[in-house]
Symmetry: D2
Subunit: 443 residues, 4 copies
């Protein structure tokens, strides 16, 4: 087995890990993993041990020669890894709760992957991911970094702009749609071509062929709904979708149905607290299950957590990179001319063929006129946010927030930014550095 692969999972103590381990076991013949390193920080050690022991029991039950390593030593885990995967959450669910709550107080959507909430998550996460990249550049320069950490599009773009690490951003939404289509049409995935255009959590599906026959209009006419467990459900207007000739990502409801979504968030917040708090509850229950020494497989309840097909997306990509299969996957990659009006170095979410040297985007059949402006507006916000994350420049952060399509005015942006930065202070050293230094000097 000396030629097997080494995989490091940053944030290995996540409740998602059993799903990933299940995938590694199932596809072992295509992806012969020798060592799986689950890494977490000190604060997460308790969870890491629980989920790690479950992982060990799962592997043992499979009879495969995979060794599981649990560690807080990130550098040791990364050294000579073939694949590094990230599933971490800087500041954990506690601060997510804050990001979701504050915007609501200003009458603005509170969401952890876009809007003011997504911006804060990006500001917290990007510098940490870049530190990980420094380790990879040094200890495993040939490794592929699979980034699931949200906001995955911005994080991946930052990695491409500011490091030499070979990185690909992933989301479970595209594979989720494919799964739904395979069930709906009762065909294998390789008989479906669904064309995605846009950004992470801001894509539109503009073409669905089954066995080469166009099915998009039919689907939209059936007014069928594609539901996702982790987004409040609101019906799309079928007339609008038909004239758009596209099926939007469910996250686009935040932009296309803002007042209803806001209303839902406020109600839901009143009844259940923030989404973060709901997830915390689910997590506690999951870890309760994971503790059971008789449990040797992924428990069914994990599927309620929201990350359906997450492991399948990750394992699929590793398999294709490893074997150079040239199959088609929907990934977050640098634009390089694929969407002609976005910057060359912008990260976009589109179909790619996967070679051993990485993904190559496939030309888009069409980009509907109506979506161009919104796509560009959100990309503008993303690029400014990345710049702010790398520099700690509050003025750039203000520009990012003002120009986000969900933020109604400069005045609201200023107040909300101040309050949210303050609430995130512990996780934003670059933004509060000067003050700290000043304090240090005066003492």
């Amino acid at each position: 087995m000396s030629k097997g692969l080494k995989v490091a999972v940053i944030g290995g103590g996540s409740s998602y890990t059993p799903e990933l381990v299940e995938g590694f076991i199932r596809y072992y013949h295509d992806l012969p993993i020798r060592e799986l390193w689950l890494v977490d920080i000190e604060e997460g050690l308790h969870k890491l041990n629980i989920v790690g022991e479950l992982a060990k029991r799962m592997v043992k039950a499979s009879g495969l020669p995979i060794t599981i390593h649990l560690t807080t030593n990130r550098r040791e885990a990364i050294k000579d890894a073939d694949y590094v995967s990230t599933q971490m959450r800087v500041g954990m669910l506690e601060v997510r709760s804050v990001d979701e709550r504050i915007p609501l107080q200003y009458g603005v959507i509170g969401q952890e992957t876009t809007g003011p909430g997504g911006m804060m998550k990006a500001l917290r996460t990007i510098p940490v991911l870049l530190e990980i990249c420094r380790d990879i550049e040094e200890l495993a320069p040939q490794a592929w970094l699979l980034n699931f950490t949200n906001p995955a599009g911005m994080v991946t773009e930052a990695i491409h702009k500011y490091s030499k690490v070979r990185s690909i951003g992933l989301c479970n939404a595209p594979i989720g749609l494919i799964k739904w289509l395979t069930a709906h049409y009762q065909v294998e995935a390789d008989r479906i071509y669904a064309e995605f255009v846009g950004l992470n959590h801001l894509h539109w599906v503009t073409r669905i062929d089954v066995d080469g026959q166009p099915k998009l209009t039919e689907l939209l006419e059936q007014r069928e709904q594609y539901a996702a467990a982790n987004v409040p459900q609101q019906g799309w207007d079928a007339d609008f979708l038909l004239s758009l000739q596209a099926l939007p990502s469910y996250y686009l409801k935040y932009f296309y149905m803002t007042p209803q979504m806001l209303q839902d968030q406020l109600l839901s917040f009143e009844n259940e607290g923030s989404r973060a708090q709901v997830v915390q509850q689910v997590e506690q229950e999951l870890f309760q299950l994971y503790r059971d020494p008789e449990l040797k497989e992924k428990p069914k309840q994990l599927e309620q957590r929201g990350g359906a097909y997450y492991s399948e997306a990750a394992v699929n990509l590793m398999r294709s990179l490893h074997n150079g299969t040239g199959d088609i996957q929907t990934l977050n990659v640098p634009n390089r001319g694929t969407i002609d009006f976005l910057p060359h170095d912008a990260c976009i979410e589109v179909n790619c063929i996967v070679t051993q040297n990485g993904p190559l985007p496939i030309q888009l059949s069409t980009v509907p006129e109506p979506i161009k402006g919104l796509m560009h507006a959100v990309k503008t916000y993303e690029q400014l946010t990345i710049q702010a994350a790398m520099t700690g420049d509050r003025q750039v952060a203000l520009q990012a927030m003002v120009h986000h399509p969900l933020v109604p005015s400069i005045a609201i942006a200023k107040d909300m930014l101040d309050e949210m930065l303050e609430a995130n202070r512990a996780y934003l050293p670059l933004f509060f550095q000067k003050e700290n230094i000043a304090v240090a000097e005066t003492i």
Copy 2:
């Protein structure tokens, strides 16, 4: 005088006409007009006669050999014209009032040049302008069409896309800024370089040099305000402008300060009625003055009407086209690569040198990152609106309205669109054609 110029003014009965006539008189030596044709429709004949007689008195007082023709025969006016200028309002102020009122009922900005109101104005106006273009193509193919009719950017883009007429869009806002700067710095206009980037009523000034010295930062730091009489005044946030390094058009307040502007509109609507109603009042007073047979010059009160420097902008452009002066003016012209992320055939508002063969845009020193998305979003709406205006396609109109940054949701867009199209029914034959045909068939 056989070599003098022929100018036709469509909408010649407008209260603005005395301003234009004043300009023609003042710059006669550079722009030797022989015939000035003021054209209007039957419904405007009364006003045309009043303002036309004033124009004749003004010319007579000047002693210049300009003849004034008043007519409802558009084709006669256009025939062999050197310049055609438009200052018309399809549906007149009555329907403007509707366009400003309905959006407010949905909690949306009601404005005649952008948002749902601007969209309706475009739908009404573009087909009429294109009819005028058909006449020009036939009767005066070498004429220049100077288009002041709002929304001037969309109208000019439609003319470029769907006719062969040589046309330039104009707005008085850029010349207004230059005038303000000349007063502020006590220098001639030719010692100032103010760089405009953006669209009509959606531009940003990104560079102001006086005698070659950069003055933009200084101006923004002084937190000086540039006030325009026809827009409710709200203070810009100086911190925001400084970090943006740009002075936005006052119309950008609708986007950057939406809640305050909406609040103001609602208040003002309650107190004074719509802006249209206010203007109607001003107009009535003006025409009262124009009637005075002793009046032989533009009355001071016209300046309150809002179109300051309008005549100067028009006459300046005609003079430069006529003489090929190669001077710099801020105009609405096809993009052709000047703003790299917008379509080649999009109409933009930028600095140009004016040759006898028309304006040639000057390369932009900079396009600030933060403004790209918003500019593209509004251009998307504009392009869809133009397409809807040319086809009467209600679905395209829906896409335009949904994707306007000031419209909060599909649901609101649908209702508002239906109500506004209905209120504009008399002026939108393309949208209601099929119904009429259907009726005709059933009888």
Copy 3:
């Protein structure tokens, strides 16, 4: 069998046809052809009958339910076809001989797919192909037109610009390289990724991965030669290729080794006559063989004809279109941004995935700086040639010829153009139309 496919082959009397028939037989399970229509013009009827009878014997021997139709009625053949393939030669080999000879007299490369010879072939062929397209638009609008007719890049671009037919250009050179690589590395084709960039007969291979490992440098260092039977062999300079980091198409020797190639052509012309004459000899021998009523398979000697793997390329593409396999093929398709400095509607030769709705180009890993200018220069010539072919405009033809990189001066271009147009007079009605009309009028 009512659901089988109908295929029409324009130029069915070609000596290549047995290769195509062999392919249809071999891959019948993936591409169930019911009817194969071989079409030719009256002048080619004799050859059509010979090769058609051989095709019938081949099918009969296979036992498959394919019916072969021989006809000069193109419209009957095209009606309701699923695939139309072209392998014709307007003016046949006689005029090819002229195209190859005249340039040599001016000290210029004489070649049927590029330079002055390729230009003449394009001028003759494009209008005829467009006529075929008119039939397809009318009689089989959903058909795919697979175009092998050289110059395949220009012909395909003309079809895309001037018709609505769904068309793809093909060349056997890319598949030839893949075949060579599979033999060299002893692996299946799907374990190789060879990236092609450029135009038809003007491509560079910039990446060769075998099982995901980069092999290009190694190959270039071995100074291995890739020989093609139908191009005079000249050794590439390995130092040059290594610093270019690309393997050029063998046709690029006409540009990179012009004096040697010209020398070879002159020598070879003296000894054997033109390439056309050599091919004529080979053809005669082939048809002698085809006549043998005992022959029921493609004779080995056909491989000397030069079109190795031609049938495999055609059948592969039809299979992938039919089944929507999503596999990767190197095809001639509209650029649409793939090569950023070429026009959107330029036809390029690059890797694509093949869906049932046609090929989608895959983003290029790299375009080496040194090749950009030459690629653009040849594309400029191609675009002007297409324009000349469609209009018969001699001035545009002159611009095309002057700007071809192999033509040394305006003076030579003028003389050569006049002589070559005259020699092609019978096949260039658009260029000599006015004269004919003039003649007609004077009689």
Copy 4:
């Protein structure tokens, strides 16, 4: 006078200097120069003193308060300069002679600004100019560097890519055409709009308006010739120009009439030696004149030297930069999208308006299709040459030479490159550095 300007002229000992001084005197009121520093290297000190004394006599005769400084201390001259101008020749005329001779031996055009000769001049000159830029960055960071040093396009592009110096490239050819037009049409220059598109020494004039009336076709039809003293005269083919609808730069004859130009060069070389040798003779005669202590003005004979209007171009640009006149000049500037198929950072020669912050290119009315490929091919060579000049990489130099449109084959390029690099060894330290180091190590 304390507020007057400081100008440093690198290569101040050039025979052109009296022309420049004449210009400074004539336009003193618009460009109040206080100090003029003429700098040269030790080897040029003799000439510097001769021409410097003439300059002093000229200034004295004018009565203006300009002081002339003669120095070999470049840094002293540059310190706090407002304008730096370069008119130097690395390796002087001796090595130019070599560059013009060697290509002829290979049957290739020998010319000092394009082809293999231009390439060598670029390799010699660019590193020296960059050293000067290092001084300017340090000692006069606000200075404008006006670069006349050929190949001016490549040198200017290198400065923009590799330094922060504000630099503009100039050539006397555009002003020369304007002068010819003013004489031909008997109008002032500001009544002419001549649109240039292309690169330095590779431009096409695509529009000539006089008083706004198009004159290009008329000019081309008159088959008038525009002669330049320093290029062997060959008649353009008027039919070709008319169908091109452009007047090419006289340097384009090297590309469009290669065999004739080569023939002329060979003849002329046989009769008179290289152009360098002819110029050396002219220079000696000029310096003989300059020595005359009675001479107080530019001698008429200087005009035969070839750089007609050179001083006018330089002084015009300095005046416009100084005064921010916003007038139109044809300059070498970074492309930034003006020519859409060339790289953003490529240097191009187009019309600009001149502001105090530098030139802003004016959008092109048209770029004729036929010229795009050739323009791109030469730019490709230029970019590779710049890269070779900055790195001393012989492989990149080989790519540059092979891909120059005037070089017929790889084999010739390799031999010619080796011979020319060797002949330039003394001036190419970067190319021969490693050898030296290797030698040093083995001793």
